[in-house]
Symmetry: C2
Subunit: 206 residues, 2 copies
């Protein structure tokens, strides 16, 4: 029996979901909330297996709610529910701690499938959304592959990012300490930064 809580401000949708879940074998809707504030207060006591969380809620939105709740309800899985496939919302929700994502137009049977999947350690999402998610990974490493830096410089930078000292890098790459320093200076100049940490931030963030 998978216990579920629904957080959704639109009455019709909320009650529709509740009927669907309570009417299906193996699922039990423990409670419904129409706003995030109330859910944040009471959810830790209910501690359900799965929460269907609307993103666009009045007041505190669903993403913030997940951020707050995921810390207290570590084992509860959150599935975000929204009308549009908005990249930024998806990404922020996942970062906040959500495990999955549902469009409101999704067929009832698919909703139950998704709940079960999340409960069993999966993360249901369309392959379109999956692509967007991994796209945001890949962006991070595009500057790493930048034309700016030579192959050797990239190697040095990678080691710098690992926190290795100059002499450790020198040993690892079998080159002299001075060579490492020279490369480092060139890297800093190309990236327009003044320190190791700035360089790492620059290649990590964008």
């Amino acid at each position: 029996m998978i216990t579920v809580v629904i957080v959704e401000d639109v009455k019709e949708i909320r009650e529709g979901l509740q009927l669907l879940i309570d009417g299906s074998e193996g699922f039990s809707c423990r409670q419904v909330f129409s706003n995030a504030e109330e859910a944040i207060e009471k959810l830790p006591d209910i501690y359900p297996d799965v929460v269907l969380m609307d993103i666009n809620l009045p007041g505190i939105n669903g993403i913030e709610a997940v951020r707050k709740l995921k810390n207290q309800c570590r084992k509860t899985q959150f599935i975000m529910s929204t009308v549009y496939e908005d990249d930024e919302s998806i990404f922020e929700s996942l970062k906040a701690g959500a495990s999955g994502y549902l469009l409101k137009k999704t067929a009832p049977v698919k909703i139950l499938d998704s709940i079960t999947e999340v409960y069993n350690g999966g993360s249901p999402m369309s392959s379109q959304i999956a692509r967007k998610v991994i796209a945001s990974f890949q962006q991070k490493n595009t500057i790493d592959e930048s034309e700016l830096l030579t192959q050797r410089e990239k190697e040095i930078l990678k080691s710098l990012a690992k926190g290795l000292r100059y002499k450790e890098i020198a040993a690892e790459l079998n080159i002299g300490l001075e060579t490492v320093r020279t490369h480092t200076r060139n890297i800093y100049e190309k990236l327009q930064v003044q320190s190791r940490t700035e360089a790492i931030n620059k290649i990590m963030r964008q």
Copy 2:
């Protein structure tokens, strides 16, 4: 017509895939390679829609191959193929530029589906793998909330991570340089690291 290239070192699998793709309507296998080196050299000229890339190749592995090729073949989509669901390989492949992931035991029909999906802008992967992928997003925000460090120490650490110098942090937080140094030492001890970069790595990764 979706053009496909296969990179796979095991002869039986390679030829099996080729037969499958050439024998299916709407698909055309332009070329097969048994190693990454040859693929890296010749793929840019073929410029196929989709590449099925084995991860475990002799010499240069599939992940490195994707890393090199994705820069030159921006529009080509890479699907990694492997025997085991290895987290690290998955993650590295996606970072390297792959769009999807297939297990070798996958049924032939599903393979064709995946190729089509990737071609159409999706990213086929099991919901189990999707969970692993988003898990690596989420980890970043957990140690930031660590019990280990005091509020002040977290603030200092955040500034350290931004690459600010001690005196800049001191100015920002309106405290003395020595105070920043003391906090930093305490942070390093608590995190069991010896340098700024190590500390940043520790809180970023886990």
